[in-house]
Symmetry: C2
Subunit: 144 residues, 2 copies
Amino acid sequence: MTKTGNRSSSAVEDYLERIQELIETKGYARVVDIAGSLGISQASVTNMVKRLDAEGFVRHEKYRGLVLTEEGESIAKAIGKRHRILTDFLNLLGVASAEVERDVEGMEHHLSADSLEAIESLCRELSSNPELLLRIKRSERESK
Amino acid sequence: MTKTGNRSSSAVEDYLERIQELIETKGYARVVDIAGSLGISQASVTNMVKRLDAEGFVRHEKYRGLVLTEEGESIAKAIGKRHRILTDFLNLLGVASAEVERDVEGMEHHLSADSLEAIESLCRELSSNPELLLRIKRSERESK
DNA sequence: TAAATAAATTAGCCAAGGCTAATTTTCATG
DNA sequence: CATGAAAATTAGCCTTGGCTAATTTATTTA
């Protein structure tokens, strides 16, 4: 039985998400890579990595990189999915991309599965309904 | 010229929002009321109130209550509006109310004005388009 | 108006997550 | 294979925003 209810902090989620991205894009995620990618100090990353390791989210081989455990990966995947759905959503609405990034990064840790799914369905509908999107964007412009 | 760019922390926003609600509903917001309403200790509230006062968001009269300054009120109003828009949005999508509350409280501090406006417009469209809402809800049920 | 109660404050603590500076460990290369 | 560079870690510090327990201050009420 996989432990499930264990809510992780935003910070933990951010780290796991980023670690996975790094592994996907560069093939590895060392302390120094994570620090660079998150824009924080190596020392801070070392600390957090200790914690992630202790809590069973990653396995760490010095100078070699991190590997996500099954549990770590499942969290990373979930948060990655949230990220994609929310990005999609705001993009569909025509929000400027710099803002999309910031907003999504802020929001992604605070959505229940239900809300996520609802937004996902909404995106499906919006995607297949360009006129609707046009109306929404028009209505935005007007209300400004 | 009103100072505008000064981003406040989530905690500050939460306090101001709650203070305004209390003033609206009970007519006053004392330390003890805020503590009760936010579910935290009076001591913590005293601390934060000192800060809010020092930063010019509230004026405090002991045993009498807090008053929002112009700046405090404008922040409170803005965050209140975010709260309403997001609540609306998730309600429209049919998310269960307990979750709506939690999600909104988490998200409301992380949305740019642009995203907010886009979601607002979207809500307008959704409200006037019950079939669309039905389709979305159906599609949710199916994807479960 | 004095005593009881309620509100507020103070002092001292904690955890999360950041930071810098200094040090250690490993890697890569001449 | 020695050494310089890169990566990692350690030590010690900071801020935010919580907490409890003890104390003070104001308000209410008998």
